[in-house]
Every structure is written in C-alpha cells, then in structure tokens.
Symmetry: D4
Subunit: 251 residues, 8 copies
C-alpha cells in the first residue's frame, strides 16, 4: 500500500465511506514492510552509502547485465555500482553495454563513478607478498569507491620487515588498517602491535600444504596476541575494505 | 645509552674531547631500541589508553599479584588495570592485598578505577542466549572500563527475535556493536542487516555435538552475507570489547 | 500502540482534531512489531502448541525456577512446560517448589501435565544400543508430552537385526520414525529401507576413537542411500521428537 | 519358488505323493525372499509411489539408457522415472531414444509423465541466493514430479529479508518447507521461526574459504535454535524434495 | 509360526479342512524370520563360535550381571562369555555373583572357561611401547579365549627395533599378526615387510599433540606401503584379536 | 660376500694364510644384509608369491616400461607382473613393447600370465553401487591374478538389499569377503553380520558433500558393530584383493 | 654370539674339531644383530651421548624405578639419565630410592649428573608467554643435561617485542635457537628473520578456541616465510632441546 | 638521515649553530631503521649467504625477470640467485634474457653460478618412492647451490629397505640428513634411528585417500619416536635443503 492509497483510504474514512472497524482491520493487516521494513531497507541503502554489491562468480554475463541495469536505472547520473571478482572478459562485455563503467583488473572490480570528495582520515592497506596482491587491491578499490582515502604498503612480508618499520608513522596515523596475508598470516599481529589502530586481518588462500588453503592464516589471525585485530573470511578483500570504510566514517 | 650519557658525550664532542668520526660511529651503533622502539612501546600505551591486560588462566595468585603491583606502582592514583577470566577466589585474594580493585563476577573481570567521563557514542552489546552471558559481560565490562558508554540487549536469540526488532532504533544509533552467539551463530548477520554499523561477532563455545565447541558459529560469522561483520576468537569477549572501544574512539 | 489508542487517534482524525498528514506520519512510524511481529510471536506459540522449552545445562536451579514460574503463571491449570537435559537433583529442587511436575529420569526430562488425548497415528522410536537409550527416551518423552502416540523398539543394533525384522509391520504402519544410533550409525538407513515413512535420524556421541564423538554416525546418516532420512544434531533427542510430532500432526 | 510350483507341491502332498516331513523341510528352506522380501520390495515401490530414481553422475549415457528402458518397460504408459543431476547433453541423448521424457535444465532433472492430480497441501521451496537455485529447483521438481503442489520463494537472503516477511502468510500455510542456503546457512532457522511447520534444510556448496564447500551451512543448520529444522546432505535437493513430499502425503 | 502349528495346518489341508488358496495365502504371509532369519541368527552364533560379547563402558554393574546371567544360563557348564573394557571393581562385583569367571586386569577382560584345545597355528601380538600394552593384551586375551594359540612380543618400538629383528623367524611363522602402535604408528608396516603374513594394525590413542588421540597412527596404517596391512578402530584390541582368530581358523 | 668367498676365506684361515684377528674383523664387518636381509628380501618375494607391483599414477610410460622389463627379465616365461591404476593408453603403449600382457580396463590393471590352478576356497567381492565398480574390479582382478578363485555380487546397495539376501549361502561359504562401498559405507557391516567370515571393507571416494571424498564410509567401517570387519585405504581395491588372497591362502 | 665364543669356534675349526660346512652354516645363521645391529645399537648410544630417555606419563612409580635402576647400574658413577614430564611426587619417590638424582620442577625433568664441560657455542631458548614456560624449560634443561651451554629469553611475545630487539646480538651469535610459542605461534618466524641461524619451533597447547590445542601455532610455524625454521610436535620441549644440542655439537 | 646529513648536523652543533637540546631531540627521533634495521637486513644477507630466493608459482614470467635482473645487478659476476618451483617454459624464457643461468628440471630450480668450494661435511638426501623425487631433488639442488656437498639415496621405501641398510655407513657419517617421504611417512624415523644425526623430514603430497594430501606423513613425522627428527611443510624441499645447509655450516 503506497502513501497515495493510504491517503485515499483515510479520506474515505473521514468522508464516512469507510467504517472505523474496517479501517482498523485494514491498517492492522497493512503489510508491515510498507510501513516499517521497506523503510529499514531504505535506511540500509542510506547507511551503507551504496545501493548494492554484485558478486560475479556463478552468474552469467547476462544476469550481471540485468542486475546492473536495474541498479543504474535508479540513479542514472551516478552509476554507483560495485561488481566484485569479475574477469576482464565479463567487464568488457558489460562496458560495451553500459557506459561510464570502470574496470580495475588487479582488484577484479567493476565500478561506476568514483566519488570526488574523500574522507579526511585514511585507510592503510598492507599486504605480505606479491601473491596476496589481488585480495589487497580488492580491499583498496572497494574502500576507495565507497569514498575513503587510501594509502598502501605492499610486499612487506618477513623478508621485507624493514619496509614496514620505515612506514611506522604512516601506519600509526591511519584511521584503520586492512592487513592481507597468506601462509603463516603473522603480519596483522605485527602491524597491530605497531599501530594501535583497528586492524582488519584478511587471510588469503596463497600457499601450499599446511597453509590449508587459507585456514592457517585465518587461525593465526584469530589467535592474535594483539587485541586490535579482527578477521574476515579467507580472500574476502571486499568485506575488509567495506568494514574499514565503515570504521573510517563512524561518527 | 640513557639521555644523560648522550648529553655528556655530545658535550665532550663540543669540547673537542671526542672526535667527529668516533662520535658518528658511537651514534650509529646506538641500540635502536633506546632511540626508537622504547618510544614505540610508550606510544603503544598511549594509543591503547591502557597500560596492560592480564589474562589470568594459567597464572598463580602470586604471579598475578606481582604483575598487578608493578602496574599499579606506575600510576598509583589511578589503578588502571584489567585482569580477565579471573575467578572469585583469585579476585578476593588480590583485593585483600591491593586496595581499590573492583570485581565483576558475571564478566570474570577485575579492574581498578573506572573512568568517569565516557564517550559520546555508545557500543551496543547483544547476546543470543543466557549461556552466552559471561562472554557478553566480558565484552561489556572491558569496553566500559576503557571508557565507552555501553547499552546491552541480552537473550535475544531466535525465540525472542521480536525483542531485537523492538530495539531497532537503539541498534541503529549505536556507534558499533558486539554480538555474542553460540550454536548456529546467526545473530551477528541479522543484527548487521538491521544496523549497518560495524558489528564485531563473538562466537561462543556454548552448544553440543555439531556446534564443535564454537567452531560452527565462528564459521557462520566468517561467512556472513552482511559485509559489516568481522570476527574474533571463540569466547573472546575481551578482544571484542577492546576492538569496539577502538572503533568508538576512532578520530 | 494498542488498538484502543489507534481507535482514539482515528476518531480524533475524523473529528478533525488531527491533520491528515500528521496521521499518516504517525501511522507510518507505527512500530511494526505492534502490528505484525508480536502477532507472529503469538502465532508461534499457537502453532508449536507449546509455550517454551528450557534447556537445563548451564542454568542454575534458581534460573530454571524463575523461568518455570513465569511460564506456569501464564496457564496455571495446565502447566505445559518442558525442561530437557535436567538432572535428578535439579528436578527434585523444582518439584519441591512447583507442584504438578513430573520427572522422567531415563530421558532427563521434567514436564507438567501430559495431554490425555493422543494423536491417531503413532511415532516409532527405535534405538541401536543400550547406550543410546537416554537420547531415544528424550525423543520419546518429548513427542509424548506434545501429544503423540508412541511405540518403541530399543536395542536393535546389528547383533539383533532379527528383532527389527520381527517388527516390520509396526515399522511400516508408523506415521513417522525416530531412529537413534551411535558408532557407525547405519540403522536409520536400514529402517528407512524397510519403512518408506519419514525417518528422523539422531546420531549419538556413543563410541570411541573413529566414532569422533558422534560425527561418524552424523556423516553416515547424511549420506544415507534412502531418500526418506533426515538428520538432527548429535544427541538431539528433543529435536527429533519435536520434529516427528510435527510430521505426525501435519494437516 | 514361484506360486505355481508351490501350488503343485501342495497338491502332490494332498495326493500323498509327498511326505509331510519332506514338505515341511521344503517349506522351511523356501528362500525367504520369495515369500517375504520380494513383497517388501513391492511394498517399497508402493509406499514411495515411485519405482526408481537414477543418479546420473558417474554413469555413461548408455548405462542410463539401459536402466531407463528397464524401468519404462514395467509401466510403459506412465513413464514414471526420475533421473537427477543430468546434463542437457545426456538428456537430449535419452530423449532421442525414449519418447515422452521431459527435461528441466534448471533442476538438472529428466522425468516422464507428471501426475495431474496434486496434493491438497503445498510444499514451499525457499532459497537464499541466485547461486543456490539449481539445488532449490532440484527439490522443487522432485516434489512436483512425485505429485505435490509447490510454491517457491527464491533469492531471499539477508539482503532481501523483507521479501521473506512479505510472504509470511504463504510460509505459515505451507504443509512443510524446503529451505536451501549456502554460505552461513542461517535461512532455515529464520524461516522455521516464522513458520512453525517442518523445515527441511539443504546446505549448498556455494561460497568460498570458510564456507568449507557447504560444511559451514550444514553445521549451522544442525545447530538451529528452532526445533522444527532437520537437515539433508550438502546440495541434496532431491532428498529434500522427496522427504518434503513424504511429509506432505503422510496420513 | 512354529513347526507344530505348520504341521497342524498342513494336516488340516490334507484332511480338506483348509482350502488350497487359503493355505498358499497363509504360507506366503509367514513371517520370514521364522523360516529364515532366526536360523541365520543361530548360524551366526555357530560361525563366530561365541555367543555374545559385552562391551562394559556405559553399562551399570547390574546391567552387565543381567546380561551375563542370560548368557550363562544357555550353556551353564561352559560359561563362554567375554566382557571387554571392564574395571577390576566391576569384575569383582560379577565374580561374587557368578562362579567360574576369570578376570585379566591387563587386558580389562572378564571371561569364563578358556578352551583347552588350541589352534595349530599361532597369532603373534606385537606392541610398540609400554603404554600400548592394555590394547595389546585385550587383543591377546580375546584371541586366546576364542581358542587361538598366541605368541607375544611387547615393547619393540623404534628404540628397540633389534628385538624385533631378533624374532624374525617367530614373526614369519605366525599364521597372522596383530600389531599395536600409537604415536607415529609405523610398526605394522615394518612388521608386515618382514612377515608377509596378514597383519591387523591397531592404532592406539597413546601420545599427545599431533598424535590426534590415535588418528595419526590410524592414518599412517591406512597408508601403509605394505599391502598386507589392514586396520581396525583406535584402541580396538578386541576387534583385532577377534579378526586374527578368524583368519587363524579359516578353512 | 657370497658363500664361495666366505668358504675361500675360511680355508685360507685354516691354511694359516689369514690371521685369526683379521678373520674376526672381516666376519664382524660382513654386511649383515649378505647374511640376513637379502635373504629376507628373497623370502618376501616367495611369501607374497609375486615379485613386484607397480602403481602407475605419477610414472611416465617409459618409467613403467623400464620397470616391467626388469621384472619380466627375471622370469621371462611367466611374466608375473601387476600394474595398477593404469589407463588404456598406457596399457596399449606397454602391450606394443612387451608381449603377453593382458589389460583389464574395468579394474585399470595390466598383468601377464594368469595362473591356471586356483585356490579351493573362494573370495567374494561385493560392491554397493555402479560407481564403486572400478574399485571392486581392482580387488577382484588382483586376487584372481594372484591365484584365488573369485565370486562377485555387484550393485547390492540398500535399494537392492534383497539381492544380497538372495545370495546368503554364497556369502556364508566364501573363505573371506571384500566389500566395497562409498556414501554411507554400511554394506560391510551388513555383509559381516550375515557371513561371519573375515570381511575387508574398502571405502570409496564416490559421493558428494558429506561423503568427504571417502572419509565418511572409511569412518563408518572403522566403527562397525561387527567384529569381523577390517578396513583398507579409500579406493584401495588392490590392497583389499591382496589381503583377501593372503587370508584365502593362509595355512 | 660374543667375540669370545666366535674366537673359540674359529680356533676349534682350525684345530679341525669343527667341519667347514658346519662352520659356514653357523656363521650364516649368526643372528645378524650380534654382528650388526647390536653394534648399531651401541653406536646409537655413543652418537646420542645419552643411554636412554624415559617419558614418565602413563608409567607407574615402580615402572620408572625399575627402568632407572637398570640404566644407572650400567654406569653407576655417572647416573646419566633423563626422565621427562615427571611430577614432583614421582620425582620425590625416586629420589628417596636412588641417590644423586636432581629434579627441575619448572621443566618437569629428573636427571642425574650434569656434565661439567659444556659446548663452546650456546643454544638460545626463547619463549613467548609465561604459560609457555614449562615447555621452554623442558627444552632448556634437556639441552643443558646433554652438555650444551644455554642462554634464555623468556616472555617476549608481541607485547614485549622490544625485549627481543634488545637481545639481537645474543640472538645472532647463538649456534642455534629453540623458540617456544602458543596461540598464533608467530615468534619463531620473527626470531628466524633476525637470527639467520637454525631455529627449532615448538608450538604449545596454550590458548583457547581457535588455537586448536596447539595446532594453530603448529600450522603457523610450518608455513613460516623464513626458511631457517623447522618444527617439532606440540609441547615437545624435550625433542627441541635434543635436536638443538645435536646441531650445536655437529662436527 | 644519511651519514652526510648527520655529519653536517654535528658540525653545526659544534659550531654552536644548533642547541644541545635540539640536537638530542633530533637524534632521538632518528628513524631507527637508518641506524639499526637496515644493517640487520645486510646482516641477514651475509648470514644466509644468499641474497634472495624467488618462489615462482603465481608470478608472471615478466615479474620473475624483473626480480632476477634487480638481484643479478647487485653482483653481476656471480649471479647468485635461486628460483624455485619453476617450469621449463619459464626457465627457458629467463635463460634467453639473462645469460649464465642453469636449470635443473628434476628439482624445478633455476640458479646461476654454483660455488666451486664445497663444505667438508656432506648432507645426505634420502627419498622413499619415485614419486617423491621432485621434492628430494629440490632439497638436493638447493643445498648444493648454497655450497654443501651432497650424497643421495633415492627410492628406498619399505619395499627396498635393504638398500637403506646397505648404506648405513654413509648415513651415519653424514653431517645431517634430509628425508623425503609421502604416504605413511615412516622413513625419517627409520633413518633417524640408524643415523643419530639431525634429520629434516619432508612430507610429500604423494598418495591418495587417507594420505590427506601430505598431512598423514606430516603428522607421522611430528610424532616420530626418534628425537632427532624435525619437520618442514609438505613438499617443502627448498626449506629442508636450506635448513640442512645451515646445520652443515654451523660453527
């Protein structure tokens, strides 16, 4: 029941064309989502500052196109969309059919308009090895598209720990950090010890044998001695970037 | 090399009693921790706003007493300490020997002076079942002792989902949330869908059989469809409260 | 907002004491739970035919007493309550303080009034070994207290398979079956092959070594070649009895 | 020993050509399957209302063809067959060789004649995400082919929870429900809380990292706080549809 | 239907008091277990040469007593019983109430009369460490009570491998072998390489950390490079002794 | 040092051409394998009745050819070889280069001369489903090539349990049995209950989801209630056939 | 056959009291262990520099006493023994009965005479937290009793990383290092990065939830980015100390 | 701050252009890495005797080329580089573009100049089966490139244990050993028992079913009864060769 219908109903009640008991019955049986949950849903879009995110794997090119069209129709000027884990081929298919889309191959992300005004604070994205880069870039681009300022420090695993120490100031002044690591997954703890800021650890499936496809760094991060480390799913760069942006824009 | 020695060295250089090359050699070989890392360590205390946290299990009463004394000597007036997972017997033993300590039996926490001035924003701590309460209270008291305002909503599992919906406004206005759940561990996702704020999920070891001593809710939370959920270790109420306080005081 | 308030509001609108726009705003902001979810909650009690179930482990005697009092106050004459996994000591404590409670030590269940009129169809509860009995009895008593007729066949593991075959007719005429088994957990498949009726498999934690505290029979039952087998959590006799009663009273 | 042989034997006994003791010995050594188990087997077909189900993976086109021919020869007019997890290529191969077969590509099912008369009650099939659709459709088509009325509600994960709430009435009036979900697998619990009817949860292997190829939603469902949830194997849409039809046709 | 009833029925048929069709109907509906399966059951006892085995854990003293009485009543003179995993207290309780029982504390076995005539071939029971002894003795005594000749070689782990090599001839001349090992579980492979005879590996739960309560030796034995190694459940000395006796008495 | 050398040495000692101390030194440093272990090695070939088995996966065609040539050179007339898990292409490559080889595609086995004289007793190989056939055939052909008589009963899973019961006599008269099953893996227990003979269970990796690539039937078989069941590695048809042949030829 | 017997035999052969063929037969049947393996066994003691180590858990006081007596009889003056994981009560029992034993309660080790002359190089034992101390001390005392010089650095987890950096020189000059850590287990990697010397990582079972009783640090250490880290079993301080001593005394 | 700046600063201080307090402040805030950690990094290269190791999987040909160029520019004459797990195609690509590189296809290693002077002691590399060869060769070539003398003993699994015993002397005289084994992984324990020297066990992912892709031999080696066994990650031949070289060059 949209507002217009409700308004008409109430006016007919006032005009005594609808009985009070009937009206109350109708109001009581109003699908609550019309009053409440649809609002919640709108709230959700407002709060998250982003209408919808599309996870590409397992969807056909055509399915993604349909979803994207529906989303971009709502706000045609802005094209605020985010498609994650998308291949170059899929992205090219979509860019031919919808104008104004931009593809980030390193982070496997397709997006539209990137906001010009950025947050005052910045998120620092740190990764351990070259192989962790796609996940780190997914986090970086996600947070950037959402509107956060980003600084990055890549390839600072154990072999390059001095690079991490070179950047102590930048690490300590970040609003929060996303730290991406596979194998032993010890980097988030080390960064968290230096930084003191909220650290979102992202285990990656990089490694072999006892790395257990990412479960070893996941377990390591969950056991961090530093209490300023939390964890997201293996390879979930998007989730980490999203969460870091939330922290960065809290209050 | 303490500052006094350094000062003397430089004065002797100025007085031409020490050669420039010798001085540079000495400065280069300065143990870096004297210049750098000890400072980092001080920074750490400043940043976290809390000198040290003691995890009681596996320590004798005497060991905890010694640690507490060292900590309270540093700032005798304030007694800013936090002992977690401590039994009533241990707490009583310590309270007899150090004045000004306060014990929270529900959260198994011993602490000293609780700050009077609280943060503007509040952390909301939500738990699913009665059995999850000790972990929820550990999170609540940790964040409170650190200085955050707290609101709580306990016992809102599936059977009482309407209570959760009764509190939508309070959930949406929180700065961030700690959601504690055992068994299936679905509550953080549901709260995250309603709230849109950062949610720290805490799986608990409550349950039997296929709850896998907390691994089932842990896995559930890591797979949350809501991107505003992060996870800490099973039963780690302290870590969740600490992290939520960090978010609440960011910027 | 209760109905009376709503009625007054609408009458004041008709009497032109409330503006249409104001009224619409008020109606829109109606807490949906007042219209919708609280009703859902009532529905839930009606549908399940049972106000509430209390899982005793991890609760103090006093906590259970408080919960029981609240429940029995609602319908004092009937005392429709169910407390599961309760020890004899806990039961005795409660029976002293609330009259009309009955304790089933084999199934570790405390309940109140058992319904006189039973269902036409019956649930058959079958268990493999002596050690599985407590779980089987938990299922049996749960379904009986809810109002189902029950038949049982206990101790019919591999060594006594002929007893199972002796009871083919009784097995085939049941409305549905609960089959409880530990160790290898093959009994539900065998019963399901004979019966053709819905079979709820309950793995138990009985066994040692490779029985993995119930995970082996759980996995076995999930892989059943018979498509009429579903599974509940390890040792979850209550859930199986509850579900079987639902099937028995469907339509 | 077929009936004719038995009849002849008894007549020869009556005609005193066979001694009583010999006859008893012969009767005792009658292969029990001739008297008993073959009957059981017939019973099985009667009870399940369906002669045989063929699981396609791991079988050659030729093997499936042979099996199908044997089955359709028994009841040539009706072609009551069900082949699951079958590819479009396999289906086309079979449709060329056996007339009257129908292929459902979304559910990967090949079947014959679909019954005209349906059950009075209906099964509701609900799925969380687009990626869970093949499993949901497998359940839906299985139950439909067996003769149940079906209603469906697809793509109602956390992001679209309001769609679930839009359908409360339809959910509550179903005879039973099949709920399909991957990732965190929380949907069956939520539906079960709303519905109160028997819910068959089907975990899917959709997801990555900590979804453990379907074990995470499987564990979640086994730990459901709602006692009206049971579980089948990962991706086992067929089993869920079969079981739901059994419930729907009980009594 | 017992034989007497059957005989009566046939005589009444011959006397033309029962119609042929009626008789055939009656014969067809004969519960098959009366003709077939009960016989199977008797066969089972004959084949295994042992009426019943009682697994003591989880049973009360009284329950074991009742079971034992029923068993010993069948063949009072021989007292062919076997109770496994029984404590000294339980054994003493039973020995007071039933005469002629013998308790082996090292193997935690209570039995009755031990057969005088042994098999020609012998089973060799080998164990790795002192801590594996209870399981090895359980295997040894089980096979001995069943009637097999036994030789043993205990405490021949890696540190004492020369003792194993000292006994090559005895190992090679055994009919089959039971090899018990915890920790790394490599002994069965080594023995199998020397012996060439059937080896039943028994992993034990001895060890700590990465021994995984017996799963590590279990996995090791399943991966044995020697094709003459098979495996039973962790700590299952009874099963191994039983199986070895079967091999020893085959043909 | 061969016997001739030793004999010469001793004679030279007697002839006082070798000093006693030198002789003792030489004897002490005799490589023990010349006296003992090489003999053991010969014993091994004699005992197992088969020179060597080649596991094809991970070996190049050329590597297998080289190994086969070395083996067939030893006993050119007999060509007693066994290559397991070999593809049709590999087999064809080898058959072109070595005459007298025979390939069994169902069992993925390449062998040479099959012995004419078979054992008196027979091994029964039973499998649950069509998909388990390659493993069952691997067991069957292995035992046949080694010289055992074989009977088979394939495709007797739960759906066809009456076929199993049709063959009770054949099952009971086997010397021992190999039972192959995937999914729930319950067949070995059922067969073992009927047979009473030694049963070697072979779990297969057939199935999906909770079948855990064969670990579920493996665990089921390890927990068998029937003490006459032992287990080999997942899909290890060769090992099972080999072991069954050992039992069949014991004594 | 000891040397004396062999010498006598050869002399009797020379004196023509023993036939050549008989002699060769005797020599061939010489138990090879007399020539070979017993020597190996002696070698083993020589190489390891320690006669035998007794693992106390699961052994009675009396069993340990018997073992100790046998060991100390061999070399009464030196009492070179090592009993690990022994309680204070057990140690006291033994010290009353055998003089010259020394008990280290922190490392749960009982030993005899400690060598005066130590190695030139030293082993550095480092541990992360207070709770890891018993394992670290077990490693320390083991290596010390074996004769290595030891330096220790305890309680240098993430919170105290500056202490580790304070000791860089001592870490870099060690011959090798034992690093003990529970929880996330990242310390060995960090130490290995600083040191460049061989590091033996010892995971401990300290922690809760996702520490998996030591498997998380075990997995972390196996995935170390530093190639100079190897790993021993969880809590295996003895093994690490032993191995480090081997490295320290190589060449 | 480089040395020149520091020198200038100190001279300006001496010339009284900089105040003492200012100077001390500046010195204290010197980035520690300029004084300390960069030096550590240089130390690291010196200690390990090797500039950098490149793990090829997951890197493009171009990325490896860039890394190699940077490394070989530092020390153009020597080309001390090591690329592991590199395919023949990748190696050929690089050899075309950088001269003086050598490829070892069996060990999947690309390296430059191999040192002429080798260590006095040698490392022994032993492997169980043909399939373990690539991992064994990776260890062998790594240690050889680093400068260690190597001896190898390949294909000495259970079937060829006499070959191992043939080589006892060579095994006992090695400085340390690398033992590579898949399947049951028992070889390191056996070698360790014979040798007494440090043994680095390398589990391989060779095998099927219960070999768990290398976790079974990993667990076996962690549980070794021989205290001179340590373990590295599954298939980590590089790490084992590196560590063995460290032991071989200690002191």
């Amino acid at each position: 029941m949209d507002e217009k219908t409700l308004r008409g109903l109430l006016e007919r009640f006032k005009a005594e064309k609808v009985d009070l008991n009937d009206l109350i019955g109708k109001l009581k049986s109003l699908p609550y989502q019309d009053l409440g949950f649809a609002k919640l849903d709108t709230h959700r879009a407002l709060r998250f500052g982003f209408p919808e995110v599309i996870y590409a794997p397992g969807k056909t090119d055509q399915q993604i196109l349909t979803l994207l069209k529906k989303l971009t129709e709502r706000c045609p000027g802005r094209k605020r969309v985010l498609v994650t884990r998308i291949t170059g081929e899929q992205a090219a298919f979509l860019q031919k059919r919808i104008s104004g889309l931009r593809y980030f191959p390193e982070g496997r992300i397709l997006t539209g308009k990137i906001p010009e005004h950025k947050t005052a604070g910045y998120i620092m994205v740190i990764s351990a090895g070259t192989a962790d880069l796609p996940v780190a870039r997914e986090a970086e681009i996600t947070a950037m598209v959402l509107g956060s300022r980003i600084k990055t420090l890549y390839d600072v695993g154990v072999a390059g720990i001095h690079r991490l120490l070179d950047s102590v100031k930048m690490i300590q002044e970040a609003a929060c950090l996303v730290v991406v690591a596979g194998m032993e997954g010890a980097l988030p703890s080390v960064v968290a010890g230096i930084s003191g800021k909220p650290v979102v650890g992202v285990p990656t499936s990089i490694g072999y044998g006892a790395s257990l496809a990412g479960f070893t760094p996941l377990l390591t991060m969950l056991n961090s001695c530093s209490p300023n480390v939390v964890v997201v799913n293996i390879d979930n760069g998007f989730g980490a970037g999203f969460f870091a942006h939330l922290i960065n824009t809290t209050r």
